[in-house]
């Protein structure tokens, strides 16, 4: 729901080629990243984009594989739109908004081949690792899809397997190995959502801008070789897109990918340095 007067302000700003907070159309709000929101989690992170804040935690467990993928681990993504984070969210069954975000994030990671699921097999047909990506909102000011997708990737990148006794099939939760998850780092899947209002297209909306918009197109990009690949897409909302608009969005997506990718690389480098020190001290 959005007030007509709010929408009017958003449109007026967009017509001037800017935003209600003076940003450019494809300029994102400052991104802040903080690792380790829970020391019980195998990996966890807090991502802030402007006033939007999302936390992600990775938990692992062992389970039986799916019958059609007997030598592959599994992944489950879930999203909670916590009532603590916005007066618009309520308790109860997950809403379609939460389900959709979880599914978009899941699809992007799965389809890019970022996780090497075969290396998560413990015993073929009997036992595999399950990776749970759990997302939750702490404060909602729009762009939850992008914030969640970024948080999921960062949490995966920093997760360490827990200590596991194969004979007893027992995980010692809270005790971690130095072993990271089997990830294909060259496939780094990053997600960005383009919103449309009238004929204007922009990224990283505040909640007011997002609610004013007619719809969105989310694309998840990876760059396994020289060229960028699209691994997942989702159009949301009632907007219509022309062929040219979609092709322009892909071009803009390439630029955003580059920026986001260097941000992720930098943060991970920092984290790895700190983690190594911590691990050595604990021994």
């Amino acid at each position: 729901m959005v007030y007509n007067v709010t929408k009017k302000n958003v449109i007026e700003a967009l017509n001037k080629g800017e935003r209600t907070d003076m940003r450019g159309l494809f300029e994102h709000r400052p991104i802040q990243i903080q690792f380790g929101v829970s020391n019980k989690a195998e990996g966890s992170v807090r991502v802030k984009i402007g006033k939007t804040e999302v936390v992600a935690g990775i938990k692992m467990a062992t389970s039986e594989p799916y019958t059609d993928h007997e030598n592959e681990g599994t992944m489950v993504t879930s999203m909670e739109l916590l009532p603590l984070s916005s007066p618009n969210f309520e308790y109860g069954q997950p809403t379609i908004e939460a389900v959709e975000i979880a599914r978009i994030v899941d699809r992007g990671i799965r389809e890019s081949g970022f996780i090497d699921f075969k290396k998560l097999c413990i015993k073929e047909g009997e036992k595999v690792w399950s990776v749970f990506i759990d997302l939750a909102t702490i404060n909602d000011d729009g762009s939850l899809i992008d914030a969640s997708a970024l948080a999921a990737i960062l949490a995966l990148l920093t997760a360490k397997k827990p200590v596991y006794d194969e004979k007893e099939d027992k995980i010692s939760f809270g005790e971690f190995t130095d072993e990271k998850l089997p990830l294909n780092l060259d496939k780094m899947p990053l997600t960005m959502t383009f919103f449309k209002l009238g004929d204007k297209i922009f990224t990283d909306p505040t909640r007011e801008e997002e609610d004013s918009s007619d719809g969105r197109l989310t694309i998840e990009i990876s760059k396994p070789a020289k060229e960028e690949y699209v691994n997942a897409m989702q159009k949301g909302g009632e907007a219509c897109f022309t062929q040219d608009e979609i092709l322009n969005i892909l071009e803009e997506g390439k630029k955003i990918y580059k920026k986001l990718n260097s941000l992720v690389e930098e943060e991970i480098k920092k984290f790895d340095k700190g983690a190594k020190k911590k691990y050595e001290n604990s021994k």
């Binding site: 379609i96 060229e227 219509c240 092709l247 390439k254």
Partner: protein
């Protein structure tokens, strides 16, 4: 240019012998649910969707009404016996998402601003599934909306475009969806509006180089034009 790239692809021939841009056989019929205000069945190869429209009718409870425009509600459901391994009946995360993207695909063409305070319920059920169920569902729903006499700005058609290794194909089957050679299978369901040629549904999973994307959109446009002819023909056959 397309041809040159396609030659390097591992997917040289389609499993069911179709041409790359050839659609499966289409059967469409309206008026299959007498109780509904509008209904249609749409079959594309082995995929069968049946859609029924109830409304526009007053939306209750009253506080859910929108005084400015009508509400479109889509309920997509796969019957438990429509696939190989039985699926649990009822709402799943997948079906919730498909219902929502179908709503978003259809609402731009329904003149909801002329129907304030009302709701249009569209029920889509998949009787038999062999890939492309959300597209068959949209095709059936669009026909059912016409059949119900709901005011619409234009017609809509949906198709799943696929990329098998490097080959772009129209209207993928389940067997093609599971293709694993080379770059494997990419599935791209989309819609085109019949007059404005705008896109109201676009999803993708798999891997596709950005430089190939225009071919995908062009293939979708061509396929949707063909599907549109079948929809119109069936609508004209109504008694």
């Amino acid at each position: 240019m397309t041809k040159e790239k396609a030659e390097k692809s591992l997917y040289e021939k389609r499993v069911d012998g179709r041409k790359f841009d050839e659609l499966r056989e289409i059967h469409a019929k309206v008026g299959v649910v007498p109780n509904a205000d509008g209904s249609a069945i749409f079959q594309q190869g082995d995929t069968i969707a049946i859609a029924a429209v109830y409304g526009p009718k007053t939306l209750n409870p009253k506080h859910c009404q929108n005084p400015e425009k009508g509400v479109l509600r889509v309920h997509y459901n796969m019957l438990s016996f429509s696939v190989g391994e039985r699926i649990k009946p009822g709402v799943s995360r997948r079906s919730q998402e498909i219902s929502k993207v179908t709503e978003w695909a259809l609402s731009p063409i329904v003149m909801l601003e002329d129907l304030p305070g009302t709701v249009i319920d569209i029920h889509i059920n998949i009787l038999q599934a062999n890939a492309g169920t959300r597209c068959a569902g949209i095709n059936a729903a669009a026909m059912a909306l016409c059949h119900a006499g709901v005011p619409m700005t234009e017609m809509i058609s949906a198709v799943a475009i696929g990329k098998m290794d490097q080959t772009i194909v129209s209207d993928v089957t389940k067997e093609e969806e599971d293709y694993e050679e080379g770059e494997g299978a990419t599935d791209i369901p989309m819609t085109y509006l019949s007059n404005s040629e705008k896109i109201t549904l676009l999803q993708l999973d798999g891997r596709i180089a950005m430089s190939r994307f225009k071919e995908v959109l062009d293939a979708g446009k061509e396929a949707c034009k063909k599907i549109n002819e079948f929809q119109i023909k069936a609508l004209k056959e109504v008694e």
